[in-house]
Structures are given as structure tokens and as C-alpha cells.
Symmetry: C2
Subunit: 305 residues, 2 copies
Amino acid sequence: MASAAVPEVTAGRILVTGAGGFIGRRTLAPLTRLGFEVHAVTRRSPEVPVTEIHTTDLLDTTAVEALVTKVRPSHVLHLAWYAEHGLFWEAPQNADWVHATCALARAAANHGATRFVGVGTCAEYDWSDGGSKLRLESDNIAPTTRYGQAKARAHKLAGDLFGSGDFVWARLFHLFGSDEPQAKLVASVIADVLAGRMPGLKAAGAVRDYMAVEDAGVALAQLAAGSITGAVNVASGEATTIGAIAAMIAQSLGRTDLAPQLGEPGDPPIMLADVSRLRLEAAVAAPSTLRALLARCCQDTRVAN
Amino acid sequence: MASAAVPEVTAGRILVTGAGGFIGRRTLAPLTRLGFEVHAVTRRSPEVPVTEIHTTDLLDTTAVEALVTKVRPSHVLHLAWYAEHGLFWEAPQNADWVHATCALARAAANHGATRFVGVGTCAEYDWSDGGSKLRLESDNIAPTTRYGQAKARAHKLAGDLFGSGDFVWARLFHLFGSDEPQAKLVASVIADVLAGRMPGLKAAGAVRDYMAVEDAGVALAQLAAGSITGAVNVASGEATTIGAIAAMIAQSLGRTDLAPQLGEPGDPPIMLADVSRLRLEAAVAAPSTLRALLARCCQDTRVAN
């Protein structure tokens, strides 16, 4: 593997929206450590000291214009969005936040900001193949929810409105944290295990990338300070199954008796190859889809029988 | 993504062992198309014309020496191994085939061969993490079966014995084909569905890379003709679950009523990010393991309650 390049880090005055939220509050300490003067837009008191707290209503474009005129940030990290657990997927508020994101990007560009980090989602991608490959930032965008569609639109529209400045679109995958809503996976499994119940899982075999929200906060701060532009997946790079997460939690809490059974012992849940050498160095082309190849195999078997 | 380099292709006189086997017979036509003069070691009549068929006992090192002296191959593609379904994992014969592979590599080098392609397995890798990342060729080797251990030993020993020649070690992942043993996954699901039975699956959620054996044959032929050296994963690059394979087969055979239920509708079985940009371009470090992070989250939740 190539070793990671040391990125150019440029701190300045950063406006952080959603700064009191699940993710936002984890960006404040890393941003401060990176040398930023942090202006936090939030109605909650941050747990770490920041330069100034603003309680601006971000859906009010006049107020946003006034805020940006006053702060004159060099950087914007925009996390605010409608995020009510379970409701945000199809909420009409998603459209309001596309508009608010555009207004913020335009105001920031007009008042001298040179770098804008917006937050997108894995739900922007086309998953109709069932997720058979790791998602690259350049892959097809085909969101099926209002939330995913709104984020994809915000990426394009706000990116255009930010003009010649550096625009970054951080696509978050699955996050967890100790203060997540009780209905979310990790919180609900911890609650079940602490109560002595077998965790109730809807799709134990589903394969996901779960990142600790603290790591997402650090990554977003680094993206704000860095020089990369365009879409960037923000995820751990570690694949796991929902069932394996529940088992790890049960083990961590000393209740292995409440760990879900994970198939055959000794049989790894996931066995996948990195095929970069085969494709790029040996230039062996990708085969047809598995679906097409299985159909041919079924046909051949029928003919032979 | 970088576009695939066009590799230098060099055909010559190739000795193919295991040429009548499940994989080997699929290498003969591609090798011929690439311009090779094919000497096939097999006791079965190949389905495609080859230059010469040899019925040499490869466990007899004297016979192997005589064969190589006679044929004087420029290339060797060595597929022969003990492969009895279900038995090969722990069979004592694995040790015999390490020895045979070494004898063949030494004889080939002594008689002018310049390129040797041996066949390894995904079972050489350390899977104790449950497979949470795509396996790179440079990843830890820690086989837990006699078969995996023997293949890993053959790689090292035969590679050393082949000396200064080009030595390639093709690590195959999961393969399927219409003539595979009835007990293997695809054949058994096809048989179940054709008989009108629900497929019996042991680990429906297990995530695997299944490659059509015909594609493996083409890939091995290209590796023989190419210039890449060292270990190379040979796999499709497409992730799937055992349950999804059964569902695709049932659909392909027009029996959607026999397709296993795959969790929530609309919920992709796999959602994973390529994090190359984040790691290499944005230089954001990899987080701790999910296990450690979940343990911390459990601790934080307990403290908060």
C-alpha cells in the first residue's frame, strides 16, 4: 500500500452548524486542536470551549446572511439538518434543509469563505445491486428516500453556489455512539443486554460499516483543515454484520449467553478479496454479474441433466 | 480509478498440470487462444485440442523429471492437487502435493522454464478477524487447515526452488460451475430448486466472493501469459451472501417461491464504503477496531445510566 500523504493543514475561522448535535459536538475539540477559531451554531451549550456560540435559525436566510456577514468565516462545516430518528427519511423538512444549505453556501462564498464541508450520506448511492461492491465516491447516485435525494441535491446545488471555493461532501455511512437514540442499533442492543434480554435484531446478516461518532467528528475536522475536495466517504473501512455487533456488545458486557449465534463456528462471516492487483496490474477484466453467471450455470445444469 | 495497464503477453510452451480437473480444463482454450503450445498433464481426454497429452504421475518425482526433460516448457501452470470434496481440507495427501509442487518447480527451473503459475487459496489468509476487510495479497498468512497450510508452504518452498524465474501464486477464492460436486453450494441449491424443495442453507448470511470457474480459467491463462509476479487474488470482486445466491438461482429457475427471504425488503444486504480517498488523499487514520470501540461505547452507556 502507498503510505498516506501528509496533507497540507490550514486552519482559520470556522463556522460549524449543528454544533450541538450527535456528530457536531464531536467536531469541536478536534477543530480547536487543529488551530481553528470555532464559531458554533447551536442552541445547546457545547461541552468544550469555543470562540463564540450563535443561536441563529438556519432556516431563516436573512438571519444566515447576517450571521455570515458578522463572523466572516474562512471555513464552514455544515452539519445542521432535520435528523429526527425514524422520521427524517421521508420528512418534508428535507427540502427546507436543501434550501438552507444553498443559502449558507452562497452567503459563505460571498463573504470570503474559501472552504465548505457539507455532510452527505451513504443513502445517496444506488444500492439496487444489493451492495455487491465497496462504494466509491464516483459510483452511481440513485437515492430512493427523500433524505437521500435531498442530500444529493444539496451536494450539487450548494457545490455550484460555493463557486470557485473548495467544496467537500463528506458521505457518512453508519455511526454509533453512547448517546444515540434508544431505537438505534447499538443503544437498543446495549439496553436489551443490560436488561438480560436476547437482543431483537431485524436483519442479523446485514453487512454494514459502523463508525464510532467520535471518529467521524475527528475525520470531519481533518477534512475541514485539509485540501481534498469533492465527495469523500467517511467510514471505518471495517465490515461487520448486525449479528456480530450484537455479539460483540453482549461479550463486552459479560453476557455471552445473550450473544446471537453467528453461523458455523470457525466459518468467517465475511471472506472477500481485494482484486486490485488482478484488475490493474494483471489487467484481467471483471467478469459478468454473478446473477448472469448463475443463470448460465443453471441453464448448463439443466441441459446436462 | 487508474485504467488497467495493457500487460506484456508472452506465450510459449506451457505445461498444465491438473488439466482435466474442474479448473484446469477451463484453462486450455484460453491458453490456446493466447498462443500457447499446450502440454496437458491429465488422465482424462481434454474437450479442446491440445499439443500433447501426458498421463504422468505427478507424485513420482522421477517421472516428473523425465516429463520436464522431454517437454522443456517455457511456462508451467500447476493446478494438480488432492481435491476430493469435503476431504481435502484435512487430508494427509496435502503434504504429498507440497512435495510434488516443489519437485515440479525445481525440475522446471533446471530445464529452462522462466515462468511458473501455482494455485493457492483464500484459506491461506488469517481470517480470525471475521473477514472485516478485503484481503490484500500482502495480508497475514495464518491458515487453520492442513490444506491452507500446505498451500502456503508450497508457495514459499516452490517459489524459492524456482529461483530467479517469474513465480506467480494465484489465490483462488470461491468458485462455482455446472459440473461441481453435488454437495457444493450452487449444485445443491440447483438440485433442491429443480426438485421443488426449499434450498437447505447452513450460513445464509455468510458473505462470499463466488467466481464462475470459466472466469477463473481465463484469469489463470492470462496470469500465465502476463508479467505480474508474486501472490495475486483471483476472485470476481463481487460480494454476495449465501442466501442471495440461493435466491438468484431460484429466480433464474422460475421458482421465486423457493427463494430464501433476505431480510427487510429494500434494505441492501451489504452497505460498505471504499475509504481509499479518506485514508490516502485526506490522510485520515484508521480508527480502532470496532470491537474496542463498541466496548468503550458500552462502558460510556453504563456510566451515563
